[in-house]
Symmetry: D3
Subunit: 241 residues, 6 copies
Amino acid sequence: MRIHVINPNSTATMTHTIAQAARAAASPGTKIDAETGTNTPASIEGYRDEAMAVPAMLQAIIAAEARGADAHVIACFDDPGLAAAREVAKGPVIGICQAALQVAMTLAARFSVITTLPRSVPVIEDLVRAYGAGHHCRKVRAVNLPVLALDTDPATARARLLAETRLAIEQDGAEAIVLGCAGMADLCSWLSHTVGIPVIDGVTAATKLAEAMAGAGYLTSKTGAYAYPRDKSADKMTGAA
Amino acid sequence: MRIHVINPNSTATMTHTIAQAARAAASPGTKIDAETGTNTPASIEGYRDEAMAVPAMLQAIIAAEARGADAHVIACFDDPGLAAAREVAKGPVIGICQAALQVAMTLAARFSVITTLPRSVPVIEDLVRAYGAGHHCRKVRAVNLPVLALDTDPATARARLLAETRLAIEQDGAEAIVLGCAGMADLCSWLSHTVGIPVIDGVTAATKLAEAMAGAGYLTSKTGAYAYPRDKSADKMTGAA
Amino acid sequence: MRIHVINPNSTATMTHTIAQAARAAASPGTKIDAETGTNTPASIEGYRDEAMAVPAMLQAIIAAEARGADAHVIACFDDPGLAAAREVAKGPVIGICQAALQVAMTLAARFSVITTLPRSVPVIEDLVRAYGAGHHCRKVRAVNLPVLALDTDPATARARLLAETRLAIEQDGAEAIVLGCAGMADLCSWLSHTVGIPVIDGVTAATKLAEAMAGAGYLTSKTGAYAYPRDKSADKMTGAA
Amino acid sequence: MRIHVINPNSTATMTHTIAQAARAAASPGTKIDAETGTNTPASIEGYRDEAMAVPAMLQAIIAAEARGADAHVIACFDDPGLAAAREVAKGPVIGICQAALQVAMTLAARFSVITTLPRSVPVIEDLVRAYGAGHHCRKVRAVNLPVLALDTDPATARARLLAETRLAIEQDGAEAIVLGCAGMADLCSWLSHTVGIPVIDGVTAATKLAEAMAGAGYLTSKTGAYAYPRDKSADKMTGAA
Amino acid sequence: MRIHVINPNSTATMTHTIAQAARAAASPGTKIDAETGTNTPASIEGYRDEAMAVPAMLQAIIAAEARGADAHVIACFDDPGLAAAREVAKGPVIGICQAALQVAMTLAARFSVITTLPRSVPVIEDLVRAYGAGHHCRKVRAVNLPVLALDTDPATARARLLAETRLAIEQDGAEAIVLGCAGMADLCSWLSHTVGIPVIDGVTAATKLAEAMAGAGYLTSKTGAYAYPRDKSADKMTGAA
Amino acid sequence: MRIHVINPNSTATMTHTIAQAARAAASPGTKIDAETGTNTPASIEGYRDEAMAVPAMLQAIIAAEARGADAHVIACFDDPGLAAAREVAKGPVIGICQAALQVAMTLAARFSVITTLPRSVPVIEDLVRAYGAGHHCRKVRAVNLPVLALDTDPATARARLLAETRLAIEQDGAEAIVLGCAGMADLCSWLSHTVGIPVIDGVTAATKLAEAMAGAGYLTSKTGAYAYPRDKSADKMTGAA
């Protein structure tokens, strides 16, 4: 089985962290095909960054499918372009936010999400609601560090993530924690052992769900909202329908 | 890996159908440990049936975990006792309704569910809403056959299921179909090929998600709502806290 | 009129507290038929306890109806088995949680619930939402005492309940308080007088609503979700429908 | 016990129908104090009618309380001025719409409402949602007759109500019917016997709930949204707070 | 263009503040026709005040339309009688709460509302939800001053409004502030400059939206819920339909 | 005042229709600066088309603001890139879908939307819900014609739009109609006159709201979710925060 993991941003060190998490999660027979965005923002910190990363990501998905990908993982917690990716792909497309929330709802009755910058809080809150996890997610919190600082200042990142996790447990009654950034994947195991409750990294969650979906032979519906994009070449002629 | 699949009702032929679907879905290294309910109703067709099936099911889950189960699948579409099962289990517990809905939300923007008896429609609607799929599920439909008739009158079952599926596609705009009964598992592939859109059987979906969850090493949170049941032996003495 | 009040747990002292509250609330002509669960958990503190208490409770409801009960009160704030009870009963079945919330929504625009253990908070939150009170209930709080400690350590229970009520008034803007455990029934009057806002005990609320429903001659609908459980004896033969 | 029943409109024949239903529902010791609106619209068919009926209704509530009313019933299915009435009253105030929905949610998992004019459908839908019954109410239907035609053209009213009820059962899967107009109170028993499922008249429901609330000694919260209206005489001086 | 601005309460100084804000917002060709309520409460601080102000307000709207008003602004943040006003008016009717929330949702992803008295908090929360802004509004806060104190004690009003705004920014993550009282209109510009985020006064917002709606030629739908009130004179005769 | 109207697709004839509608709606002093997308899809019919159109649209918005635009209208009913546009713009950004829904909720209690292709129905349903109009919108319907057929086959477009509108009025109880495609702008007046209820074209609605917002001096919040995109150049160095 071949799982295509696309990091929509252009930072290769972050792709490395993501690929490591995906490979650690993957079953023996699974090949992880990890890619970095081409000419996309260095990190996804808001709606504009998302928008600028999606066109290249869609091309990468089409190309990966052509070279044999059975399923796709979008490795950014904002799930940029998830619906568009489902339109262009035949195989299942898994967003790490949606995957992490599905796992969290299975393991715990209530959880909190911890992301990087405060500006991402409303973005993620809206995803939580759209994915139907609104009544299970206690709070979306932020450590107030840029995405890339997870890599350049790991000590601060760990300290703030641990502090925010403890607040989530004490103040929110969180029974599990969802890491709200693909770049936090390498902190998952450490954090879970430190605080003693499940911590869910979206890259791991999405990799396993992608394997599960592809393993079951599931394909994206090609009727309705996720049908392939239409060829409009005939539309400009009279009477097209 | 060892996946425990419990059919909460007491009909062994239905367990057979379920076990076949689970084994067909399972990865090579996975052992399916399928069980039938002991002294439980012959089928689960309403809240009372659910209630009467759960105590034995919880014992089965505890016993299966003692003999090495890594994860559990509750193979009844009402997900009876799902939260209680998560309380007594260490490993992840997957309900086939919740699993099927998570898969459906990944493959399609809109879907419909087709179940057996009309009395189960509100039961399933409430699950759909509780699991956060309310805005994605167009309609819960019923073929108006008892659960056991899927086995005793397969021709009628197939005919009605196909007719209802066509209504779901035409009237609801369903882009995928969720089979709303574990006993329909063997009709999934036929139906999907006949109508040309994804059809999701909960047993298959749950088996794959159980493998994914166990494969990632996820465990049910033991803090909060899913903590192990309390030992109350000390509570009747003064000052217990 | 005869109101059947079932305490689903097996602690007779708690049934005593419940029966006292029900009798104090009942109209002159009403007979309270109070029962303790048989071989059920000593207290209901989570989903497993609920599940283990329901089968005996359903038998008790059927038996009480046979001896003339006009309506039933399930005297546990988790409303365990409420829908199943409605399936087996002809008369109305009132859950103390649903009753208390209906009263609270009539008396106040915003209220908070105070229960025993933190693990019950998500359980009650989900009921609040399912019963349509989500936008009226400010918060579900817990005094962090086991159910049985209400009886064995009443001084601590009173102190913590009062403290939590004051937080609900100051921090939540609660205009009324709902007591989130049947075992708190005897603290209702004291607490209301102490803080000067309505305090609603579910046993009292449910007893009065049961009298009202039975007095109006209302019966549970036997069409659809609450129809009597089906006799499945014919289902295993070919062609059953 | 003394229950004040106010018909907010000015049609005395309708008050007569309402009073009969309330008296038929009342317990032996209960006195029904039924009143007609003074200088209010002849029927309440929309928001303007509601608005024009409420000031007189509030005065009637204050006066009734002065002469000993223990609780109040607003006998119009739009529940006009319900929150305002709770502000001016010490005792509980029951709206017949809210009461009927609470009863319906107790007796059935799914129900439909049938009202008079189509213009009232959105009015009632918004109440259903505000009262938390949105996921239990299948549909709000209208017989397309003015309120007063229930009295002047009873044959047509019965025929259309029966036809619409049958549609609700067949198309909506309604397990119970809520009558969406106080003027339908006298059709409740006939309709229920004809179709064989519970039919809920708001006047009956509200009278019984008012008795229950008053019997329990419940009073409207005087903290927060339902506190008595403020005396503003001091506000125009500097520094008022 | 002629915009009718009705202050439903009877305090002329407050109408003066409102009219100033409306005129400051209006385009050159727009005439603001500002009115004070006749024999209505001195301020609107709860449901009873609303109810007592609406009948006169509806007459004012009808009269204003007769003298040429193109659109109407209800200048009280509770939007009293908004639906009733739409029934009697031909032109668009804008409530300042709904208008302010529409503007807020356009300018910011998350905002908080700050009103006068705590008793108005649930009133406004329910409007926020009814207008579909529930997931965008972080919190409804109160400065705990009567409406008229905005005029009689402006120093305290400013101090408390600023303090509450700072809490909204720090604790709620508010990206914009909505002023929850028409009497705060003159504080809008000062507050926005002081805190550096958008502050939205409903009078300004509603005046601009009224101009926009009238400018586009939009008229209130006269089909369904906002149809003109019915003439019931024929209803009391047999057979009316 | 200068309103920038961007048609995100690359079809100039459609921009022409849009610009005509915007200019017809604009006040005398307003200059409409209408643009066609550069190298974007010929029409926006799904998520991929949206994604491919947004980067160029963001550049157009930045450029328009540099040349003096006071506000922006995104003239595609899917509101592609609306949040991203708010991030890069200082002035208000109006999506024609959000604008049309805000107008519809002001003019009518219930409305339906009519769009082009069935695949756009879930897209628009999700917007309706996200914008808080879910309980006011009866149904999203489709005429089953490609976007460009509005131009190439106007007779069929008119016929189908009228037929679907009549269904919306009869079956949905729609009190107003929202046109669900920018390319339908020129059909608005004709349709409204034909069916006699308000018909809302998003281009007109958005142009008027853009004028209103700019006229009031409103600016997009630059705190939180809509803050300008971050400069990440320093993030790759150690210790960035």
